[in-house]
Amino acid sequence: MKVDRRKFLQISSATAAVAAVAPGTTLVSNLAHAKGKMKSVAQGEWISTVCQGCTTWCPVQAYVVEGRVTKVRGNPHSKANHGQICPRPHLAIQQMYDPDRVKTPMKRTNPKKGREEDPKFVPITWEEAIDTIADKMLELRQNSESEKFVLLRGRYSYMRDLLYGAVPKIFGSPNGISHSAICAEAEKFGSFYTEGYWGYNDFDLEHTKYVICWGADPVASNRQVPHAMSIWGHVVDNATLVTVDPRLSATAAKGKKWLPVIPGEDGALALAMAHVILTEGLWSKEFVGDFKDGQNHFAMKHEIDESMFNEVESHGVVKWWNLEVMKRTPEWAAPICGIPAEQIREVAMGFAKAAPYAISWVSPGASMQVRGGYSSMAAHALNGLVGSIDHKGGVVQGGKPPVSKTPSFKPYQDDVAKKHSKAKKIDQRGFKDFPAMKKKPGKGVVTNNTADAILQGKPYDVKVIIGYWNNFNFSCAGADRWDRALTKVPFFAHITTNIAEMTHFADIVLPAAFSMFEKNAYIKGKQNLHSYAGLQQRVVKPLWDVKMDESEVSFMLAQSLAKKGFKNLLEYYQAEFKDPETGKVPETSLEFTESALKFYTKPLWDGTKGAAKGDHIHGWNEFKRLGVWNTKRYKYKKHWGGKFKTKTKKFEFYSETLKKNLKAHAEKHHTNVDDIMKTCKYTGQGEYAFIPHHEPAYRWGDPGKYPLIFNEHRSRLNREGRSQNVPWYYELKDVDPGDVINADVAKINPITASKYGLENGDKIRITSPTGHLECTVKVWEGVRPGTVIKCYGQGHWNYGRIASADFAKKVPKGGSNNHLLPCDYDRFSGSTARHGGLTRVNIQKV
């Protein structure tokens, strides 16, 4: 056959146009290797599951051949990502087949803890591991201190309540502590204290004509990534794309204008845009309303009598103008945010003229900053000003898949549980300096403060921790505090796929099933104006005896506790999570997983609520095959007409909702709002506390000693912090603009480079007031002079042979930004600050 092929080649190259074939014939019939000539190979099938590599949580499918995953694609049944995926799911294959996976439960045999200490892990059985945890927990109950048990949750599925909810509550602790405040709570703060929505918005990219991305990098990360990627060509063709980011992001590279804002000054820029929109008379008359006399009195740039304005869907626009926007001219903002006044004016006018088909897209970049809650409000308020909120081509909320609610824990709480689960939570939420106002004061989590609370022993000492799918010793700013905190805690059990930094401090390690291919669970998400519930499935039999964190480990723990006399948790699981079709009581961890999953998702496939609100799925087996249930498309203007969930039911430029909560928090601490503002590092006083207003960027470090501003960003290859033991991550790292393959680089502008005498490839040490790291220099025009910009993700000293430079000696590969970043907060949302130039730094060649 080969010889024939060559002969054909010789003939065809000698005579250019031989072998004419009729035009229009199909590819199949005319190509040289007819099907029959191909070797026959094992066939596989596409099985639906969900990727949790970022927070989009896409319905995907895995191609499974002879029990192995060979490739991935988007789930074609998903209306949200319509069968598309970003690069992350591909990396998941190497993540599952990672030779450094933990394959068995282990226990620590070196009682000394610390980064320098080898834990001397040895393999043990599942039974020994779970029994050890149960014993440690029961000791707390015996000593009447069950609140000293803490469940630290990282990433999760919506099976989370089985572990994060039920275990502490029924056992007798208030401490289900989530990771949420290291994620993006400050972003939610902006939409909640304007439009009353504590959640991530969705965006009508199909119909939009103008997009301002505030640190948002949707073609690379967070959020709705595959949908954004698939429609971005259309967006660039039909809309003006402006990106506000100190770094030329992947999205900025595609856009019309890049506004390289001085880190942390997004708020000033947004306020100046609001000023232009009002003075130019470009606000939405339909949404905001108008002056009674039809004149634009904002144009006169003086204080206005509120009674002159008829407000429609919003509240407090004139108050906001009088207090703040009036003085925030582009000329005022230009030197603060580093964007020329003319450019501010041009973008603001372009945005408002395109409105209501306009999107002001707030992201963690512009909000996860000290004082970032107000920037988030300011940038989000632009959507209110131009009436793009809940409008076609604008910014919308999302739908909720009608799943079953987690059954109440209360009937299963004994007196100990009732009493101790009401203790103060360990993270100090609600303390005077941690208002953490998720909807109400003291209701949000302050994840990163848990380390300090443990170290302070305040409100009490922590004695037993179970952590799952988290790695706070790597992912939290001020990471070293977590090393000290976990060294102090007498007993820590970690459920994990790899020996992460956090695992290094564990007494017991439980090998977790890898979420995307080895776990049964469900998730919720939204993209493309469709919300959805996706089914995560064990598409292949795991190679090792790993267990699903939220369902299996919980059930095994409940069985062990019951064996030792505490039956309530097992009773809850068995009584409340019977198989909804057969009524069978779950007896094993796998049965429990399936029955709980069916229990939660039943309304989506039993022809009831799900069929009414979206896809009509006929039964459990069809749901498993499809892998996703989609809502109907979002209907615009759902919240217009006084249906926003704010105090006034309107879109609040003057936030009565925030006022109410701040006053309540101040009263609780017998003080006033001004004092709370100061305590929490905000500069605004009086009425300013209740409006989006300018707060100067807060930075650690003396400019004399630390002349450069450090800023970080995300990678389109980051599966959060978990893809760094994957070789493909390094092979493709240059898909992040400015980054370099097989390196961890700090990007500096050529002006900065020449000042410091640095060249591409030089090794440097970056030092902040609280830490340092070493990495490589990349000289690049895509960053603002005077800044040092570095991607988050590398710098692991644990996790595996590829992630770390020397696993045995705990030498990091590259440098982790969280060893450089001080621990600080946007205290009103409880968020850990990481963006906005949180710290100044110095750099030295090493």
């Binding site: 080649l9 190979v41 192995r68 450094d100 892990f121 990627m229 698939s230 660039v236 690049w780 025009e781």
Partner: protein
């Protein structure tokens, strides 16, 4: 008319994600460090007026392919559909093609592509796995090997020979699209017969001005690029 299969890449749609490169790796079982589908990036301008481009690359399946011309064993050849293909069986690994290829898309396997999976080293003895154990448990030298690749080529190529993009002949010759095309989330890639004026690829080339890489090399590439990557040039 003779077929002339080629690809059109719409850079306006491309978002530079590297999904094509990764999808290619999973489809074609390339070793770490070898990418049939790849890319280069370019930053031009001076802050704050900066332009950035991401250009996906793959074998150009040239009409006048220098790699075919120099191959002493005729292992590189053009098939009747215009695909530039490689015979793993007769390749002697002389790398003349690698030298002749102006695009850097032919790769030489200096090591056994699955060598790293043969390691028996465990990070923590008895607690973590190893490459060799995963090989044993999956019964494969490459745990995630895609057997489809083996329909027309060695599923995983041997040490000491070269390898390159085949336009996913194992798929395209069965009427499917190349895997990089179906995997591109942005719909930036179109594969088709450039001699068929009705094919989508031809229509794009009629509609937009196109360019090829290194036209001065005279290779007549069949991978064409249309439109600009950025909107701010």
């Amino acid at each position: 008319m003779k077929k002339k299969y080629g690809m059109v890449i719409d850079l306006r749609k491309c978002v530079g994600c590297g999904g094509c490169d990764l999808a290619c790796k999973t489809e074609n079982n390339t070793a770490d460090g070898i990418s049939w589908g790849s890319h280069y990036t370019e930053t031009t301008g001076v802050f704050p007026e900066v332009q950035y481009e991401h250009i996906p690359t793959l074998c150009n399946h040239c009409e006048d392919p220098p790699c075919v011309r120099v191959c002493p064993t005729q292992s590189m050849y053009v098939d009747e559909d215009g695909f530039v293909l490689h015979s793993a069986e007769s390749c002697i690994g002389c790398q003349s093609c690698v030298l002749a290829d102006p695009y850097g898309v032919i790769h030489y396997n200096s090591r056994k592509p699955t060598a790293k999976w043969e390691s028996t080293k465990e990070l923590v003895a008895g607690c973590t796995s190893s490459g060799r154990e995963i090989q044993r448990l999956t019964k494969q030298e490459l745990p995630h090997v895609n057997p489809d690749r083996g329909k027309t080529y060695q599923a995983v190529r041997d040490k000491g020979i070269v390898e390159k993009c085949t336009f996913c002949d194992h798929k395209t010759k069965q009427g499917q699209q190349p895997h990089c095309v179906t995997s591109c989330p942005a719909g930036a890639r179109v594969f088709g017969d450039l001699n068929d004026s009705n094919s989508e690829a031809s229509r794009l080339l009629q509609k937009y001005k196109s360019r090829v890489l290194k036209p001065h090399k005279g290779t007549r590439p069949k991978v064409h690029y249309i439109r600009n990557y950025g909107d701010n040039a």
